[in-house]
């Protein structure tokens, strides 16, 4: 309620206090301008994995260097590929899980996994056509490498349909796991808020 209470108006009068306040405001403005210039410089710096990550996950105030417009464009273009790949990777894992749980036989597993080889290959082809800022070349290579690993994992997995040897699944899981780590590395640079506390 107090905010609604009005106070009588007084005629404006410029005194020492007001002058001091004015000087203070000008000073603050200068500091803010300087900070903006500095931030502008920081924004053009390459994104690195060692960027400071502070602030609450829910709070929405991560304190890290912003991506440049070129980097933003790259991140935005890569996102749908990344999202598709995550889903496909999990589908591949679940094909293996379903087989191990006895819910499907190895032929059915092959039917589920074999199409994913093309998905990973096409994704790599699509990603390799993206315009990559020099500052994100490392992440780009990591992402392409991860796609190659996923593709190789899918090829390895379907071999079990031929000879029934479970070593293929173990080998494929190792590749898939390594790929999942690499996509996290890329995600850490491009989409730091990708995963939330659950």
């Amino acid at each position: 309620m107090s905010a609604l209470v009005s106070t009588p108006r007084r005629a404006p009068r410029i005194g020492l206090k007001q002058i001091a306040l004015g000087v203070l405001l000008v000073g603050l403005g200068a500091v803010a301008a300087l900070a903006m210039v500095r931030e502008g410089r920081r924004a053009t710096a390459p994104v690195s994995n060692s960027a400071t990550l502070e602030g609450g996950a829910f709070a929405g105030h991560p304190q890290r260097a912003a991506l440049t417009p070129e980097e933003e464009n790259y991140a935005a273009a890569l996102w749908p590929i990344h999202a598709q790949i995550k889903t496909s990777a999990v589908q591949m894992t679940f094909a293996g899980l379903s087989y191990k749980m006895g819910d499907i036989d190895r032929t059915a597993m092959k039917d589920r996994v074999a199409p994913l080889t093309k998905v990973f290959r096409d994704a790599r082809s699509e990603a390799s056509r993206l315009e990559v800022p020099a500052s994100l070349q490392k992440q780009h290579e990591q992402f392409l490498g991860a796609l190659k690993l996923y593709e190789a994992a899918s090829v390895e997995m379907v071999k079990i349909a031929r000879d029934g040897k479970e070593e293929h699944l173990v080998e494929a899981q190792k590749m898939s796991y390594a790929a999942s780590e690499d996509t996290l590395r890329v995600g850490d640079a491009l989409w730091p808020g990708e995963y939330k506390p659950n």
Binding site: V90, E166, Y195
Partner: protein
């Protein structure tokens, strides 16, 4: 439940049944370990009923942000060393914005005098990345996860509407879809346990060892959430992972951390703890902000461990030495 995993499950279930027939339930020793802490989380995002209202004098609405620990239970019953949840491992590439005091679980166990190789079983309350990580760091441990949890993920993953199926739906944010919270890496770790023959896909209730019981709490946080009942010298404890995200929520009957939660099922999971333990004091919460303080009495016997993470000694079985420095 067929083939290899089924065989593992059946074999272990049979072993459990045999054990139950020949061995008496014994009291277990229990510690709580903070895997990491999510800092400055708006209270209302964690518990809607506790949302901050500027200027409010209500104790329920006067706290702006809270720090959420990620708690892991360490349970020693005779020669069995059981983890309830396995936290997550912070790495150079997976830091999780807003996290502090992260520490690798094997190193934390070392502080308690255990080796990662000593861990015989890991019961995960659910499969989210911050509760089912680090599995590969415990090579001898058998993983216990509800089959319903895996079915729930797969169902969401294959659902035709992307609002449901998406692992993550937009840059910079996981939108709480049912498939959200399960990164490929976490699922590959679970799959790795299955491949190595060290996984039990639990279907509903199960006695892991005499007196230590899994209770299903389906949809109390995720599709296949599960609780763990543990007998101790201070009475029975019930671990709840994110079905029991907040101990205050159990005490005050409020929902907490509502992700893919059916809130009625979450309340039924709370009720389970009341029924098993006779109240709310012995319910062990995964993210209770008051953990390791006098305000959450069960966890007050605490100390600081690696990287500022905290630990608590909850109960000691007869003859068990204290691990508190």
């Amino acid at each position: 439940m067929k083939k290899l995993v089924g065989a593992v499950t059946i074999a272990l279930a049979a072993y459990g049944a045999l054990g139950a027939a020949t061995a008496q339930a014994q009291n277990c020793s229990v510690w709580l370990v903070e895997s990491s802490r999510f800092m400055n989380v708006p209270f209302g995002a964690f518990m809607p009923d506790r949302a901050y209202v500027p200027g409010s004098n209500s104790p329920n609405n006067s706290i702006n942000t809270v720090d959420l620990p990620v708690n892991v239970g360490v349970i020693k019953c005779g020669k069995e060393l059981i983890l309830y949840d396995s936290g997550w491992k912070q790495t150079d590439y997976f830091k999780m914005t807003g996290t502090e005091h992260a520490a690798p679980l094997p190193d934390q166990l070392k502080m308690l005098g255990f080796s990662a190789n000593d861990v015989t079983k890991i019961v995960v309350g659910h499969g989210h990345w911050d509760h089912a990580g680090q599995l590969m760091d415990f090579p001898n441990a058998v993983l216990y996860i509800q089959k319903e949890e895996l079915k729930g993920i797969e169902w969401a993953l294959n659902y035709p509407n992307q609002r449901i199926s998406a692992v993550n739906t937009s840059p910079g944010g996981c939108m709480r879809t049912p498939a959200c919270g399960y990164p490929p890496k976490t699922l590959d770790e679970i799959y790795g346990k299955v491949l190595s023959g060290k996984a039990v896909l639990v279907e509903g209730e199960m006695e892991v060892i005499p007196g230590v019981k899994i209770h299903p709490a389906f949809r109390a946080h995720t599709a296949g959430s599960q609780l763990l009942e543990v007998p101790t010298s201070i009475g029975k404890l019930v671990f709840g992972s994110d079905a029991y995200s907040s101990w205050e929520a159990i005490r005050d009957w409020m929902i907490a951390n509502p992700q893919q939660t059916d809130t009625v099922q979450q309340f039924l999971a709370y009720e389970k703890c009341y029924k098993i333990t006779g109240g709310y004091q012995n319910c062990v919460a995964a993210h209770e902000p008051l953990s390791y303080t006098d305000k959450y009495p069960l966890t007050k016997n605490s100390w600081i461990g690696i990287n500022g993470s905290r630990m608590a000694e909850i109960a000691l079985a007869s003859g068990e030495r204290s691990r508190k420095p």
